[in-house]
Amino acid sequence: MKALELENLSKTYPNGVRALDGIDLAVDEGDFFALLGPNGAGKSTTIGIVTSLVTKTGGTARIFGHDIDRDFSAAKACIGLVPQELNLNQFEKVESIVATQGGYYGLGRRQALARAEKYLRELQLWDRRHDIARSLSGGMKRRLMIARALVHEPKLLILDEPTAGVDIEIRRSMWAFLRQVNEAGTTIILTTHYLEEAENLCRNVAIIDHGRIIEHDRMSRVLRKLHMETFVLTMDREHAAPPALDGYTSRLVDPLTLEVDVESQHGINELFQSLSAAGIKVTSMRNKANRLEELFIRLVDQGGDGRAA
């Protein structure tokens, strides 16, 4: 069973901006799926269409087989959404926010309150249940939005940048909680800018850019592509041309600085052996950029060459 199926999904805004250019995407039931992409790539638009906050201009979307146009009520009942932007009623009490959301999904008052207690306890917010949302810290608000999204126990949980602006300790506790939710059978789709987060949690990944899916694969295969890192080497003397290093791609940034792409399976020892064989002495070395930047630059550039899936 597919938790989510998108076929030729497109969105053109009234100002002519084509946010989604006919994307196809499938997410299996039970998956922990990462939807990655640079800002403005179309991630939030995709999520917006699936959750009916954005009106699509073409294509179809099905949630657990329910078409969002023909069977919107059943489709929406399957989804829990944690949006990117804080959208809490700042003056409403924590417990009320969660229980009210349960009510909107058709839960009776008693059941909604019981579920609110369950998820507020699990997300360490029970002690703050009588406080208004405005008084919570940023991390607490994020956790409150997760509790709210889970109150009707959705089959598909969509998290749009759930850990943005959250410190690493809370982020890791949220990861543990989400892993537990996924292991209990909930399919999760996650968008994030933290590659570490996607790498830690997700089994499959799609990368979207300029409204097109440019990569859709198992996380392990994509990460293999990522595991090429670029090192910046400072040499002891000036060189007019990059040296020929067998198995490595290199280029001169300036006569004293060399950039070398190193695939993880090659290792740095072999690189230094090649440099020594080419008569190059290195005085210092640093990593050029973090892996997420590398990922986007590489895959987005390739996507621009027409590799859209």
């Binding site: 009916s52 919107f72 009320s96 009210t100 009510g103 999904y105």
Partner: protein, 257 residues
């Protein structure tokens, strides 16, 4: 969503609206009570004594049903426009939009909130009025139906205003420039029989005249217009505003991208 779940969703929204009204009672209940008390003191007690009778009743008696309707109209409208626009502005309207609640429930939930506040404030103003005059209700069912139906009309109006509003200024334009003048010219303070014939005809184009007069007929047994016409206009207004609201909701205008 089965009927039981729909009822739960509707009840949740109504309780939420009720809690909002009670939570901000200083904004929702107190101001109309103070304003209406001042109306009764100044226009009813001080100036009203010199006016004498209006349609066979002392001025305070004549004015009281009008002031009750004035408070019902402004509060039912104000509740929905501020609640729904506030939800849009704070983006927590998305809590409803992502849920399986049908659009008509979102609409009726807010309308019910507007009616609750309209009736709540109407009751408070009635209590205030009883300090100044006697009100012997002649036709209780007409009183009840006109006040509820009028609150529905203006709750729907408030909802449409909130859908189109993009900033806080936009939710005060209609009440200030349209609703208040129409209410004041809708027979709250006078009988249109006092007007020259031309202005009587013009006044008959004002739908609020029919609502105020139907309510006054229910309380005092006197009206400037036929009651059947009043009900027809009120029900027609509900039908038109409901259809417009559902069209906006179904198209996602002002609430979905």
């Amino acid at each position: 969503m089965d009927l039981h779940a729909q009822w739960n969703a509707f009840a949740t929204l109504v309780v939420k609206e009720y809690n909002r009204i009670v939570r901000i009672w200083v904004q929702t209940i107190v101001p109309p009570a103070i304003t209406m008390t001042l109306y009764f003191i100044i226009f009813g007690s001080l100036i009203g004594r010199r006016i004498g009778e209006m349609d066979g009743f002392n001025y305070m008696e004549f004015m009281a049903p009008g002031l009750i309707m004035l408070s019902v109209i402004t509060n039912s409208y104000g509740n929905v426009v501020s609640s729904f626009f506030g939800a849009k502005f704070g983006r927590h309207v998305e809590e409803m939009l992502v849920s399986p609640m049908p659009n008509y429930l979102i609409l009726w939930g807010h309308v019910a909130g507007g009616v609750v506040r309209g009736l709540f404030v109407g009751a408070v103003v009635t209590v205030v009025a009883l300090f100044f005059t006697r009100l012997e209700v002649q036709h209780p069912w007409i009183v009840l139906t006109t006040v509820v139906l009028t609150a529905i009309v203006f709750s729907l109006g408030g909802f449409i205003n909130a859908v189109f509003a993009k900033k806080f200024d936009d939710i005060s334009i209609v009440p200030t420039f349209i609703l208040t003048p129409l209410t004041y010219l809708g027979g709250v303070f006078y009988s249109i029989s006092l007007l020259p014939e031309f202005w009587q005809k013009v006044s008959q184009a004002n739908p609020i005249l029919y609502m105020v007069n139907a309510f006054r007929y229910g309380v005092l047994g006197t009206s400037d217009i036929p009651i059947g016409t009043a009900y027809t206009i009120i029900l027609a207004a509900i039908a038109v505003l409901y259809a417009a609201s559902m069209y906006l909701l179904n198209r996602g205008i002002g609430i979905r991208e």
